[in-house]
């Protein structure tokens, strides 16, 4: 089979922060009633920990994002996603649930930068409360970036991940590059 090609195709650029294609990433959307005992038993069987609202849960090579009360997204190796979706589907076969591989539907950006530079750059485009008290490491925020929906989270003060739909990957890359240009530092978040 051909190698997967993301919309960003490996691009990266450095200004106030470094904005880089995180490369092909496995993503599985799971929709289910997480208050249901049947669902939760099934998920325990496959070792999936459902994070609390707005939180991220890390597992064995996977990261699970809380997306909404009845939806999580599991991030994994690109090549594992189909199997991951399959095994979730099997585990929840007796419940009402939807598990589906959506690895190709989105772009994944890795953002790195010193001090509060990542928050400064995101704050130019998103109305979200980006104070570390409101968006600490380990929390995910779904919001908008300029005119498109995105989600982002910090894995450390200097390292963040952002996802958006594939078709607007180029727009988001250009946006982030523009507001991260030299000379545009705000210095608000440190």
């Amino acid at each position: 089979m051909s190698d997967p090609v993301t919309a960003l195709d490996g691009q990266s650029i450095t200004g106030q922060i470094t904005i880089a294609d995180a490369g092909p990433t496995g993503m599985v959307t799971l929709r289910a009633n997480f208050a249901s005992a049947t669902v939760m038993t099934g998920l325990v069987d496959v070792g999936l920990v459902v994070p609390d609202a707005n939180q991220i849960a890390s597992g064995d090579g996977t990261t699970t994002l809380w997306m909404s009360p009845d939806e999580v997204m599991i991030l994994c190796d690109y090549d594992d996603a189909e199997a991951q979706a399959q095994s979730l589907g099997d585990a929840l076969a007796s419940a009402h649930a939807l598990a589906i591989n959506v690895s190709d539907a989105r772009c994944v950006f890795r953002l790195t930068g010193q001090g509060g530079a990542i928050r400064d750059v995101l704050a130019k485009l998103s109305p979200a409360d980006l104070r570390p008290s409101a968006l600490p490491v380990g929390m995910v925020r779904r919001t908008r970036l300029a005119q498109v929906p995105v989600a982002f989270w910090f894995s450390s003060d200097t390292d963040a991940t952002l996802i958006c739909f594939r078709s607007v990957g180029g727009y988001v890359f250009d946006l982030l590059s523009k507001v991260s240009e030299p000379g545009s530092a705000v210095g608000y978040f440190g």
Partner: protein
């Protein structure tokens, strides 16, 4: 004459001269100057012409309230009109041009308007141009367009860029004077997170000019100390050159930060618009001095007393050598003392009050200045600038006067708190009799989402006019804001010495009984040329509401927004109406406080980032292969792929012909793809679609229609049943997000007990159509894990597996009438699959085709297109789609609406094909005329064209249209006149022009 003093000027650096151009003349100033101070230093008192009468105008103020000194800055790709010279920081190479004059600032033909001023009174726009009607277009409008307006809009694209910045914080403090600093300190010390902003480049506001001792320190020293203390606090962020532009609902505020206006060679954005969400907002916006109304008060050289003081202390510039001070309050005495200390002459202080007994008055007398009480100005005389001041008794008609030679008048009509931001968010005002101004009423403060107060005022913005009171007020306000956030706040306010202060006399006209000819030369609004007599005329003509008077006279319009003109205008109106000022009320203050450039408002959204461009996984190939794109929603789709030297029309014809005769390739990735799963999914889709989806067999596809509750057709597409509980719904390219949204809406808000989950997988897949008689041969050339033969994958079936080594779902569906496969592959493999199909199709001359070929082929087959055949008023029954409407279902979205009498009217316009008699192409959207006229005298119509193309297959024009009782009128000829009225006759025919029996797709 105005001139640079030999010493002084706390903000300028005399070691660093700066040259700039004013109307093409090279001038010099110093680093730290504003454009206005530098011009005054060069004796350039004349800085503009007024709006209506083109009168010569000089600078009046020293800050954001300046009405006259508006200039055009820069040129070509960085031109900004209407910039205030008083807030423009000087830099090397600055270019400024004055506005609103022709041919030159010194000699302006438009000034003839001034001689006609008695013919241009209040409301002249409304009165003069009413008749004769024919004059409007050829006489009045050209005249108004030529003479109205101040600056001219830039003609070139702005070379600068701008950005936004979003902040959520506890407390926003607007204003970096001593009150803002004190309030920020009080809130910050209590533990609140604070953002403190100041519109100028300097902290401390007026205090360093006015000179009160604070905590036993000179104001400069105190400001420096507090600023460094605040800068050291981790919970306090400070920005200067950052103006509070507006305060809105729920604690939202806009700030306009000027980053490189003063340093144009700096990299990065020119300005930044801050969007702040603050739990508490403190407006420490200070106060603005009011002018006094006397004849000739608009002559260059008549200035606000505080501005005269500012130019001397801040910039070492004196507006004149002999300055008469005229006042109704104590504060202007500071100006007289400052002038005296700078070695300038002050022939007299004219105090309109009967006696002057404050501490400042004594200082003035002690300094040897002649103080005359009970006096005002009868008129100021001079040609283009102040030459003589006629002094008279305030309580007189000004007939008897004493002439005093002077080249400058420093006037003070008292101080009005800057209430703009407070008022933006709904804060109400109260009239303060003692200080003769409106101030914020703390009992009627703006309230936020919680129903609690979220805007507070601090310092002179509250109406606390002494330093001591302002500091106490600011400290209390800062603490109150912190406490509203649950923080504990304590600590005393900074101390200032108490001042003895006399009340401000409410003087609204000088002298009290000035006759008409003086009132007609007493300006209330310098910028918009509104005089005392204009407001009086408005009152006389019955304008009682202040809002109506504002519009009738243009008082306080444009960039002034009531800063200088408001209170004086209200007072004159009140007097004319014989009511008290608070009974007249004030006009509404609207954001922004001072203009914010449109570039800053658009932020990053300009040029290539104006709006998102959505791209399919194959977009780069399209670009590299000369695609002519068209927007489809935010997508860019190839319209056609012209080859080198080929016209777009020829390319479209070639694409249709090749596809019909051999094989074509379509990027259909933009099609919406929604997975609908659950035990109730079939029932749910039966509600959404007009036809039955629950009965669709696994492995099969069905075309479906979706309507709104209003009955109108909103979307269509092919639905595939994936398994027992799962359906895949294709939507139109533009409809994916809205249909996904609609599904979620119904599931969440109406049928929330139904077990259905929806996932939008539109972007997970690249979808590629292989279309044409040779399509199967193309697919057969690559390895497939499934059978693609006629029986293995019949029409309206789908299979899943791998194709050419890529996971694929193949749908055998057709929007062209040809043998056709639509293949969905993971988006990250979409380009590889496209390339593979191009290669496999090469022996057959495969051609990629665009949306126009797609449209033509569907029209040749009579297939409708959402957005062409539908426009939000069309029901499926209008389109002959009754076959796709289930009769068995009790309910579906739109069913009840389609039962309404208008929807079942037999006279509705219905879909037919249209064939011109001469084979030409009907214009899209043309109407068919009918006999007779409507009640409005317009020609009756009986139909319209919804789609029209030249068919390369048939070699003539084909069209679809909606015609009254169309299907019952086959063969009839109707007339679709062209725009010039010439007849275009077309015959009503079946909309299926090509392969009516569907044999080609079923092979």
């Amino acid at each position: 004459m105005s001139h640079r003093l030999s010493s002084g000027g706390r903000l300028i650096n005399r070691a660093n001269p700066v040259s700039f151009a004013f109307n093409g003349r090279t001038m010099r100033g110093f680093e730290g100057d504003t454009l206005a101070s530098a011009l005054l230093g060069e004796d350039q008192m004349l800085m503009g012409r007024s709006f209506k009468y083109h009168r010569p105008r000089g600078v009046v103020a020293s800050g954001a309230e300046e009405p006259n000194a508006l200039v055009g800055l820069g040129r070509d790709h960085s031109y900004e009109p209407n910039a205030r010279a008083t807030t423009t920081e000087l830099f090397e190479g600055l270019e400024a041009e004055t506005q609103n004059h022709w041919p030159s600032l010194e000699f302006d033909i438009g000034a003839i308007n001034a001689r006609l001023s008695r013919f241009l009174p209040a409301g002249f726009y409304y009165k003069m141009f009413l008749w004769p009607r024919s004059f409007w277009k050829h006489v009045y409008e050209p005249f108004i367009r030529e003479s109205a307006g101040l600056g001219k809009p830039p003609k070139r694209r702005d070379k600068d860029h701008y950005e936004h910045f979003n902040v959520t914080t506890d407390v926003l403090v607007v204003g970096g004077g001593i009150a803002g600093l004190t309030a920020a300190m009080a809130a910050g010390e209590a533990g609140s997170q604070v953002l403190l902003v100041e519109q100028t480049a300097h902290w401390g506001g007026r205090a360093p000019v006015d000179g009160p001792q604070i905590d036993d320190m000179a104001p400069n020293a105190w400001v420096t100390q507090v600023v460094s203390a605040l800068q050291a606090m981790p919970n306090v962020e400070m920005r200067n050159r950052c103006m509070g532009a507006g305060v809105y609902d729920h604690g939202y505020a806009l700030l306009s930060e000027r980053i490189s206006d003063h340093a144009p060679d700096k990299a990065g954005p020119r300005q930044r618009l801050w969007k702040v969400r603050a739990a508490q907002i403190i407006t420490a916006t200070g106060a603005i001095e009011r002018p006094l109304s006397f004849a000739g008060n608009d002559l260059p050289g008549v200035m606000l007393a505080s501005a005269v003081r500012d130019y001397i202390v801040n910039f070492g510039v004196a507006p004149g050598k002999r300055t008469v001070v005229v006042t109704n309050n104590d504060d202007a005495y500071r100006t007289a003392l400052t002038l005296k200390a700078a070695g300038l002459e002050v022939p007299a202080i004219l105090d309109a009050r009967e006696d002057a007994t404050g501490a400042l008055d004594e200082d003035a007398r002690a300094a040897g200045i002649r103080v005359i009480t009970g006096r005002g100005i009868a008129s100021v005389i001079g040609k283009g600038r102040v030459e003589v001041v006629h002094v008279c008794a305030q309580d007189s008609d000004g007939a008897d006067y004493e002439a005093i030679e002077a080249d400058c008048v420093a006037m003070s009509g008292g101080w009005s708190p800057v209430v703009h931001l407070w008022s933006h968010a709904g804060g109400k005002l109260t009239w303060d009799e003692a200080d003769a101004h409106f101030r914020p009423d703390p009992d009627r403060a703006p309230k936020g989402a919680s129903g609690e107060v979220f805007v507070r005022t601090a310092g002179t913005a509250s109406g606390a006019l002494t330093t001591e009171d302002a500091l106490v007020d600011a400290n209390r306000t800062g603490q109150a804001a912190a406490m509203a956030l649950g923080h504990k706040a304590r600590g005393p306010a900074p101390r200032a010495e108490p001042e003895s202060r006399q009340v401000t006399a409410p003087i609204w006209l000088m002298p009290e009984n000035a006759p008409y000819e003086k009132r007609a030369k007493s300006w209330l609004d310098f910028q918009n040329d509104v005089k005392v007599s204009d407001v009086e005329l408005a009152a006389q003509e019955g304008y009682e509401s202040v809002e109506h008077t504002k519009r009738y006279t243009t008082l306080g319009m444009a960039t002034d927004q009531g800063k200088l003109s408001n209170i004086n205008g209200l007072a004159v109106l009140a007097k004319s109406l014989g009511v008290a000022i608070p009974d007249v009320g004030t006009t509404t203050f609207r954001p922004p406080y001072t203009p914010v450039p449109l570039g800053a408002i658009s932020g990053e959204a300009q040029g290539a980032l104006f709006q998102p461009i959505r791209k399919t996984p194959i977009h780069d190939w399209h670009e590299a292969n000369g695609a002519h794109f068209e927007p489809v929603g935010q997508w860019r789709r190839p319209y056609a792929f012209p080859k080198s030297g080929e016209s777009v029309e020829d390319a479209v014809a070639r694409e249709v012909t090749t596809t019909r005769q051999s094989v074509g390739l379509l990027d259909a990735s933009t099609l919406g793809k929604l997975i609908v799963k659950g035990p109730d999914a079939g029932r749910f889709l039966d509600m959404l679609y007009t036809n039955m989806m629950s009965t669709l067999k696994v492995g099969k596809c069905r075309y479906g229609l979706m309507c709104s509750e209003n009955g109108f057709l909103i979307d269509d597409g092919v639905v595939a049943r994936i398994d027992e509980h799962t359906w895949l719904c294709h939507t139109t390219s533009g409809g994916a997000d809205s249909i996904h949204g609609a599904m979620e809406e119904w599931l969440q808000t109406e049928w929330w007990d139904w077990k259905v989950y929806v996932a939008n997988v539109t972007e997970q897949f690249a979808q590629i159509g292989v279309v044409g008689p040779k399509a199967r041969e193309v697919l057969d050339a690559v390895s497939a894990s499934f059978d693609l033969s006629k029986d293995g994958l019949p029409f309206m079936g789908w299979v899943e597996g791998s194709l050419g080594g890529i996971p694929a779902r193949v749908f055998r569906i057709s929007f062209s009438g040809e043998l056709s496969y639509e293949i969905a592959v993971p988006a990250n493999h979409g380009r590889a699959f496209w390339d593979m199909m191009l290669e496999a199709g090469n022996p057959h001359g495969i051609t990629p085709y665009g949306t126009e070929a797609l449209h033509i082929m569907r029209a040749e087959k009579g297939f409708i297109m959402i957005g062409d055949e539908t426009d939000g008023t069309v029901i499926p029954q209008d389109l002959g789609l009754n076959w796709a409407i289930s009769k068995k279902k009790d309910d579906y979205l739109g069913k009840r609406a389609q039962m309404r009498s208008h929807m079942t009217d037999p006279l509705r316009w219905k879909l037919v094909g249209l064939e011109t008699l001469d084979g030409s192409v009907l214009p899209d959207g043309a109407y068919a005329v009918d006999e007779g006229d409507t009640v409005n005298g317009q020609r009756n119509t009986q139909g319209r064209v919804t789609s029209s193309y030249h068919s390369p297959t048939l070699g003539r024009g084909i069209a679809m249209g909606l015609v009254e009782r169309g299907p019952d009128r086959m063969g009839e000829v109707v007339n679709f006149p062209a725009l010039d009225g010439s007849p275009q006759e077309a015959r009503i025919v079946s909309p299926v022009f090509y392969d009516p029996d569907g044999e080609k797709q079923n092979v």
